[in-house]
């Protein structure tokens, strides 16, 4: 049904902007799923990855006022919170011991108006000192840009200092949609798409691997999604520093722009098209917190190869009306993956298989 585009995918030729827009306009979800699955199969075999992880949000106080966000608060506003470093350490302590320890902590938060750069460095180094085996994936490009600003250090030095304190990798948040007009309506205070890409480029050059995201299903059009994907593909061509791409389905509750939940069909198409367009990304993640465990499981049939993780506590999507719980056990993740006909692989932060026999990485 997809004709020439299908031929290109089978011949491993790169899709153009026009191809990608045609895919979004197509309603042939079955061909899309089949092609994306073929690509995923070539890249990752029959594997579907998951990780034992925990999310921590150090604060929801944020100087930005993004219109799609239901999580952020101003200082002093009802519901505003800030965690001390001791509180963060004590949230992690019970999870890093025992025979099934988490292997990664994911830390993202608001742009706090008072915290100095040193606070973030101390947060990372204290976690690192207490739990030297725990991988710290922390701070979106938006937070790192903010730290560079408040510290007066350049991007490169900010990233080097974070890395020296124990930062292991960076998540892909804050990308939203790069297109300036859409972005200006969504999150006028946030750094531009160009700046987001600059921070990621600097991170990759400093030897920090990162993810990339796209927030879709709000006010953007298909062409904006495609433009976003192509910008990511370009940067990946030059740095190779992105690990996974994670499309994020917009959630409308308690936000300023309101709107609707994305359709399950759009979610699956977006996963499949991302897999087909981002030919230089190793992994496409079905982030179950945002898609729900049902659509995430189906996404494994539409080109996704990663289910994210156990998460345990999630505040950002839940503030905007998440339709899921906050955690899945590793056993539940394994069950969902197997029932989709895939091989569950518990991974570390760099997609290496974790062996639970005490011998480290396989």
């Amino acid at each position: 049904m997809l004709g020439k585009i299908e031929e290109k995918v089978l011949a491993e030729k790169r899709l153009t902007k026009r191809d990608a827009i045609r895919l979004f306009e197509s309603d042939d979800i079955f061909s899309l799923g089949r092609l994306a699955s073929l690509v995923a199969q070539k890249k990752n075999g029959n594997n579907a990855y998951f990780i034992r992880n925990r999310h921590i949000n150090p604060t929801n106080i944020c100087v930005n006022r993004c219109r799609f966000c239901a999580f952020s608060r101003s200082a002093g506003q009802e519901g505003a919170f800030e965690l001390t470093i001791e509180e963060i350490v004590s949230k992690l302590r019970p999870l890093v011991h025992g025979d099934r320890p988490i292997s990664e902590v994911h830390i993202v938060g608001g742009l706090h108006p008072q915290w100095p750069f040193e606070y973030y460095l101390e947060m990372i180094s204290t976690i690192n000192k207490n739990f030297p085996k725990l991988h710290i994936k922390a701070f979106t490009a938006v937070e790192v840009d903010y730290m560079a600003k408040i510290s007066g250090l350049g991007l490169r030095e900010t990233l080097t200092a974070l890395k020296a304190s124990g930062l292991g990798s960076m998540p892909g948040g804050g990308a939203e949609i790069f297109d300036p007009l859409v972005r200006n309506r969504l999150c006028p205070e946030k750094i531009s798409g160009g700046r987001w890409l600059q921070v990621m480029e600097a991170a990759h050059k400093a030897g920090i691997r990162t993810n990339a995201t796209m927030l879709y299903g709000h006010i953007e059009k298909h062409e904006h999604r495609v433009d976003h994907l192509l910008k990511l593909r370009n940067l990946q061509d030059s740095t190779g520093g992105f690990q996974a791409f994670i499309p994020l389905a917009y959630h409308p509750k308690n936000t300023e722009i309101k709107g609707r939940y994305t359709s399950g069909i759009d979610d699956l198409k977006t996963i499949a098209i991302s897999r087909l367009v981002l030919d230089n990304f190793d992994h496409v993640k079905a982030y179950w917190i945002m898609l729900g465990e049902k659509i995430s499981q189906l996404a494994l049939k539409f080109g996704a190869d990663d289910f994210d993780g156990t998460i345990i506590e999630e505040k950002i999507t839940h503030a905007a009306g998440a339709l899921t719980g906050e955690q899945l056990t590793a056993e539940e993740l394994v069950h969902l993956i197997r029932k989709a006909g895939k091989v569950p692989v518990e991974r570390d932060s760099f997609y290496r298989k974790i062996r639970r026999d005490g011998k480290g990485h396989a």
Binding site: G264, L291, K294, L298, K339
Partner: protein, 366 residues
């Protein structure tokens, strides 16, 4: 595409081994051929459960109570009429009346109930699944046909397809040993069709059945439909384990209820249906039941997003807006959904939303 009718053997092979997307594409083709105009329908109605007292006590059910339980209830007329009035105000055209098998109610209760509703309201009464019909017949010492005629004269319009669960006596012995057997469920439906009443058929899967049991179920329904043509729709849904005896007996993985106690003695073989299983059964149902016009997506058990995807895996109907639903909610599963949510969900899936009546006539397009 397969030529001619799918055989039981082919269906079993498809259920076990076919590629999900290939199966979905075939079901989608057939759905398109049967419903080429692109409408996806829904009905505005309300589930009214007149009592939760039930002598059957099925192990997969979280709704039943003993008669002397502190939260056992029997709705009074005032409450019932208020619920119907509200349904009509919301544009509703049907009430679905179902309840437990209450040991103190006799056929006069049901006749009074139906005629008191019909005296006051012009609304389709879709009521009493086959286990209730049998219970009413047995306690009045009447045949099924006599019972159905009495109830129809009192105001019963159509019969819901509940209580079918899996039409395999091996499975029923485990799930619901006191509930009517498969043959009786089928004979109630046949008797109803013979006197001109339309009914739906359901299937609850994802508990202890085998793939063979699912095929057996589909085949029984198809055979009966060949004889009578009385089924308007088929509605497959998956077992929801929260708060049920069955999930306490075995550990059930998959959809988790906050209220489900984690039990000891886990049985890893016992796991409820995932999204992939649901779509596979749904698509196969569309293909196998070539003589039933409508297949319902179950947003109540699967959520709106998976229900949307279902529209490309064989379903053409979104079921009811469920102004009220108690039975699935008692397992801890509830999705908060309004009529507008349903209309938007259908539209954003690429279909045209339309309100229908009990007989799948379109009443209003949106």
């Amino acid at each position: 595409m397969l030529e001619g009718r799918i055989t039981k053997r082919q269906a079993l092979e498809m259920l076990r081994n076919s590629d999900l997307l290939e199966l979905g594409a075939e079901a989608d083709e057939l759905r398109k051929a049967l419903h080429p105009d692109g409408f996806v329908t829904f009905i505005i109605d309300r589930n009214i459960n007149y009592t939760n007292v039930c002598i059957n006590k099925c192990s997969f059910c979280a709704f039943w109570r003993d008669e002397d339980a502190p939260d056992a209830y029997l709705l009074d007329e005032g409450t019932l009429f208020a619920k119907i009035e509200e349904t009509i105000e919301l544009g509703g055209t049907q009430i679905l009346i179902q309840g437990g098998l209450h040991p103190s109610l006799d056929i006069d209760y049901y006749v009074d109930l139906l005629s008191s509703i019909k005296k006051r309201f012009s609304i389709n009464v879709h009521g009493f699944s086959p286990p209730e019909i049998c219970y009413i017949a047995d306690s009045a010492d009447l045949t099924i046909q006599e019972t159905l005629l009495i109830l129809r004269n009192a105001g019963l319009d159509s019969i819901p397809g509940g209580g079918a669960e899996i039409l395999s006596d091996r499975v029923r012995e485990i799930l619901s040993p006191k509930k009517i057997r498969s043959s009786r469920w089928l004979s109630v439906m046949e008797a109803a069709h013979r006197i001109g009443m339309r009914t739906t058929a359901t299937m609850m899967f994802g508990s202890v059945e085998s793939p063979e049991d699912i095929i057996e179920h589909l085949d029984s329904v198809r055979q009966l439909q060949d004889r009578t043509g009385g089924f308007t729709a088929f509605i497959p849904w998956s077992f929801q384990p929260g708060n049920t005896e069955l999930s306490k007996k075995f550990e059930v993985k998959g959809k988790k209820s906050k209220r489900t106690p984690k039990s000891e003695g886990r049985n890893p073989k016992f796991q409820t249906a995932t999204a992939v299983d649901y779509l596979r059964v749904l698509a196969l149902s569309r293909l196998y039941l070539d003589n039933i016009e409508n297949i319902q997506a179950s947003w109540v058990t699967q959520g709106l997003k998976l229900a949307q995807v279902s529209l490309r895996f064989g379903a053409n109907d979104f079921g009811s807006t469920m102004i009220e639903e108690n039975v699935v909610a008692s397992t801890g599963v509830s999705y908060c959904v309004s009529k507008n949510d349903i209309i938007n969900a259908i539209r954003s899936s690429g279909f045209k939303p339309a309100q229908r009546d009990t007989y799948y006539n379109i009443l209003r397009k949106f």
